[in-house]
């Protein structure tokens, strides 16, 4: 997915050009280029070890890249130490200074700039207000909950009004509930301040909810970059399809027409035209919630008879495991709402027609290792 740098927007606020970083034998980041616009909220998403944190740390100057350049606001910052760059950073472990009070923590960066005491006190009060914790200034970090500590860390990072905010898995150490409420708060705050933000996470839901643009990474390279809906609807690679959301991968062959794919003895029509020659091995992918269960036979085509092997109850919906008649080698997972299950009166063992809507099918070359 690499493209040459000259195709990038020269007015981008933050430009990463051909960044490479190795740790001994390991190539953590492999020739990555990315442009980030001013005010944009970017999520670097990927499994652990994919290089996303390394990129963040190179932007901060906490790691030095082996090759490549970084421009911020038109200025080459590739070789600058962290202290000469302009950013605020929040770590997963909060990294609050345990021996300083909340107010002293937030004031820390301002004091380094030798600002007058009164201005510092005002700024600290303003920030405490901003993060919704106006009364905790005199407390020590250990007296606060994880979510509160992370907000303090955010306030400390914002105190000097940096033009770039770097967030390294800031929500991963928190409880599920706190995580959900804090991610909305961070998003609102970011939008209000119009602050360019790079957010590293391995949680696809976080990325989908928060990002203006998601950059999915694997093994040190960018797999796909795009708006959350794009990433989810049209994943560029099986890896992205599998990592973001749940996907059925069905082994298939390219059909005789360029909009047909054959799974076993079933021929499916696809909305997109594929470039494969007839009979070539491909993989057909469809999201479980896109499988329409209980349609009238042959309605709009792409239908097949299925048997329900298992029906798992998951609270708000059912997950069905289906075997399709004419396709023995794979099984299909479908998600069906409670209402629909009741309306159709479905149970494990029943036979039911299913439809794979042509517009929602994806085709990938060859066989994939994903299930």
């Amino acid at each position: 997915m690499q493209e040459s740098p000259n195709k990038y927007d020269p007015h981008a606020f933050l430009r990463l050009i051909d960044l490479t970083k190795t740790f001994g034998e390991l190539v953590a980041v492999n020739n990555v280029s990315l442009d980030i616009a001013e005010g944009e909220f970017i999520c670097l998403l990927g499994p652990s070890g994919c290089g996303k944190t390394t990129i963040l740390r190179m932007i901060a100057g906490l790691e030095q890249q082996n090759a490549g350049q970084i421009f911020q606001a038109g200025k080459d910052i590739s070789r600058l130490p962290p202290r000469d760059r302009d950013f605020g950073i929040v770590f997963q472990s909060y990294a609050l200074f345990p021996n300083l009070t909340v107010a002293q923590n937030i004031a820390y960066g301002l004091e380094n700039r030798r600002e007058p005491k009164k201005a510092i006190a005002e700024r600290v009060a303003e920030l405490l207000e901003l993060i919704g914790l106006p009364t905790v200034g005199k407390k020590y970090p250990s007296q606060l909950s994880g979510g509160q500590q992370q907000r303090i860390a955010l306030a400390r990072a914002l105190a000097t009004s940096p033009s770039l905010l770097l967030l390294d898995e800031p929500l991963s150490a928190l409880d599920a509930r706190v995580r959900v409420s804090l991610r909305i708060e961070i998003k609102h705050l970011q939008r209000r301040l119009g602050l360019t933000t790079v957010f590293v996470t391995h949680d696809q839901e976080e990325a989908l909810v928060m990002a203006d643009r998601i950059v999915v990474m694997s093994h040190g390279v960018i797999e796909q970059a795009g708006r959350p809906q794009e990433i989810y609807r049209t994943p560029a690679t099986p890896f992205v399809a599998d990592f973001v959301g749940v996907m059925n991968f069905l082994p298939a062959k390219a059909g005789t027409a360029s909009h047909q794919v054959q799974c076993g003895s079933i021929v499916f029509e696809t909305a997109e035209v594929h470039p494969f020659s007839p009979g070539e091995a491909v993989t057909l992918a469809v999201r479980p919630e896109d499988v329409r269960v209980g349609v009238a036979a042959n309605q709009n085509g792409n239908t097949a008879q299925a048997q329900i092997d298992e029906a798992e109850f998951l609270g708000s919906f059912y997950r069905l495991t289906l075997s399709l008649e004419g396709m023995e080698e794979a099984r299909l997972v479908a998600e069906v709402s409670n209402n629909r299950m009741r309306d159709l009166n479905l149970n494990a063992g029943d036979k039911v027609p299913v439809q794979l809507p042509a517009a929602l099918l994806r085709i990938y070359p060859g066989k994939t290792g994903y299930k």
Binding site: L62, R83, F91, S93, P98, N99, R156
Partner: protein
């Protein structure tokens, strides 16, 4: 389930519920439970008999006169009313405070260089820094006399006499003696810093000076306190160095010795012992408190800070400092080595082996040195074997028993208490307890068994805490699984716990052995002729003016210590191969 509101209490059902709730359900104890309880009682009784009871006798004695009548605080009044006698308390406090300050300064710079800077030779520096552990404090003092005494080699070479005898010599010896102990603590503290804190500070554009004072120092403050307590305790309780190099400068430990051995004044000995016990106890309590805070501070997911290059001037200065300290430590070894083979330092520097045939109390033994050394090796081996068994078994009982909370707490308290009791105080209390024909344990007096018991209890706490830590790291479900498989607890103990803990067990045995080889204060009051120990004979030889022979003996102690370390290393490697295979990755 038992949410009981006041109004509902009136109804009979709830009354019954409440009664059911209150009923204590005691589990069937069974043979195993009995065995556990029996072991608890046995260990607690031993600790009482060999630790608490003698101390009580010493304390009581300090309120009595020579004929055993109660005299209230008369002994204490007598001690404080004469400036000459009460000097020892002031001197002890002065020595200990100065030693603590100097040691912390030296150790902190050294530890900072080892852990935070990219100076060369960090590995060798770390190894050399541990060397003083192998030398008894009185040997260090002897070496200093050879170097800086009135006829010391450095004094003669430079013409500068630093006035070693007295507080200068004591402080030098105590700093040297305490250095490796403090270093371990500070190296650990400095290694446990979270690099994210430093990165956060860096991204906030903080000067290195401010980082040092707002992150580095606060980050190690508990380590600094802990190290200060350890150094203070070592300095105030040490007997060997002040005995050899103190001259007329009286400290509490030597004061106890001269009152008891010189004047047979047991009451005053007991009184001064109590005075020595107070600061030691105080520091002990403070240390426990600080350690509890420190544990709370260390979180699980820290990212360790790698050493970083500092400003070249600072880095070079620290490197030279570490080099100087290391060379100084090595030179002490060299002096002992040469001194042991020298006819009459520094006048006749010809080499000789005659220092290794020695006499004490006028009796010449051809191989006397080796007889005494063998005594020491035997005693140290007994201490290592029995000490390890007792310590590990009692740590296991305390750590891995369900219920029995009061006995466990009691036993834990008794097990950490020995650290607070200075060796001289404990030694004196043994005279009161075991040199008394009315005591049934009198039969132990003058035996190797009592020397061993005294040494085990003197060094009990550190191995106990090591064992407790090792046991805490083990999954508590092992015991439950064992029980569910109907294995008696001693089977799980033997088959699972002991093999898993073998590295810790070896470490404990090593600690006991090395310390038993060099201890003086735990045995100085209870040895009898024929049962002289190596470190003790160094003192006796020095007292008799046979310094060269004392040096020879010292060298042998050091050699045995190294040999034991070597064996320990080989054993650890072998055992790790056979029982620690599960650690493999």
């Amino acid at each position: 389930m038992m949410s009981v509101s006041k109004s509902s209490l009136a109804t009979p059902e709830h009354v019954i519920d409440r009664q059911l709730y209150r009923m204590k359900v005691s589990q069937y104890i069974g043979a195993e439970g009995l065995l556990r309880r029996l072991l608890f009682v046995l260990i607690a009784l031993s600790l009482f008999a060999f630790l608490v009871y003698p101390l009580i006798l010493a304390l009581v004695r300090s309120f009595q006169n020579r004929s055993g009548e109660f005299v209230g605080l008369a002994n204490y009044v007598a001690y404080f009313s004469s400036a000459a006698s009460s000097a020892s308390l002031n001197n002890s406090l002065y020595i200990s405070v100065v030693t603590t300050v100097i040691t912390l300064l030296i150790t902190f710079i050294f530890a900072y260089g080892l852990t935070r800077m990219t100076i060369p030779w960090r590995g060798p520096f770390r190894q050399i820094a541990q060397l003083p552990i192998f030398i008894p404090s009185l040997v260090q003092a002897l070496a200093f006399i050879y170097m800086f005494g009135n006829n010391g080699i450095i004094t003669r070479m430079t013409g500068i006499n630093i006035g070693l005898y007295g507080k200068v010599g004591i402080i030098m010896s105590e700093v040297f003696y305490a250095f490796p102990h403090a270093l371990i603590i500070l190296v650990t503290a400095l290694s446990l810093s979270d690099s994210r804190l430093y990165e956060a500070a860096e991204s906030l554009r903080t000067s290195s000076w401010r980082v040092f004072w707002t992150i580095t120092i606060p980050g190690v403050r508990y380590g600094l306190l802990s190290a200060a307590f350890v150094v203070f305790t070592l300095a105030i309780t040490d007997f060997g160095a002040p005995k050899v190099v103190g001259g007329n400068y009286n400290v509490l430990a030597t004061d106890i010795y001269s009152k008891v051995v010189g004047q047979q004044n047991f009451e005053m000995g007991a009184t001064i012992s109590t005075l020595l016990l107070i600061p030691a106890l105080l520091v002990f309590v403070l240390d426990r408190w600080v350690q509890r805070k420190q544990v709370a501070q260390v979180t699980a997911n820290i990212v360790p800070l790698p050493p970083k290059p500092h400003h070249p001037i600072i880095q070079n200065a620290v490197f030279i400092f570490c080099l100087a300290v290391s060379l100084f430590i090595l030179s002490v070894y060299v002096v002992v080595l040469i001194g042991a083979f020298t006819s009459y330092w520094p006048y006749n520097m010809s080499l000789t082996l005659k220092n290794f045939t020695f006499y004490v109390a006028g009796v010449q033994h051809k191989f006397g040195v080796f007889v005494v050394l063998w005594n020491s090796i035997k005693m140290a081996s007994y201490t290592a074997i029995f000490g390890t068994i007792v310590v590990f078994a009692s740590a296991y009982l305390i750590e891995k028993s369900r219920g029995l909370n009061l006995p466990r707490a009691t036993l834990y308290f008794l097990s950490v208490m020995p650290l607070a009791v200075p060796g001289m105080v404990k030694g004196l209390s043994y005279i009161f307890a075991f040199n008394d024909p009315r005591n049934p344990l009198y039969i132990l007096y003058g035996t190797m068994a009592l020397l061993t018991i005294s040494t085990i209890l003197h060094y009990y706490t550190v191995p106990f805490l090591t064992a407790t830590t090792a046991l805490k790291q083990m999954d508590p479900e092992f015991e439950a699984t064992g029980e569910s498989l109907e294995a008696p607890f001693y089977r799980t103990f033997w088959k699972v716990t002991v093999p898993l803990a073998l590295p810790a067990i070896l470490q404990i045995a090593m600690y006991f052995f090395l310390n038993a080889m060099v201890t003086l204060s735990a045995v100085v009051f209870i040895f009898v002729p024929g049962k002289e120990l190596a470190a003790l004979s160094v003192m006796l030889l020095d007292d008799a003016g046979e310094t060269a022979q004392a040096m020879a003996m010292s060298l042998l102690i050091i050699v045995v210590g190294f040999a034991a370390r070597g064996l320990f290393f080989l054993a650890t490697r072998g055992i790790e191969r056979s029982t620690q295979a599960w650690r493999g990755r």
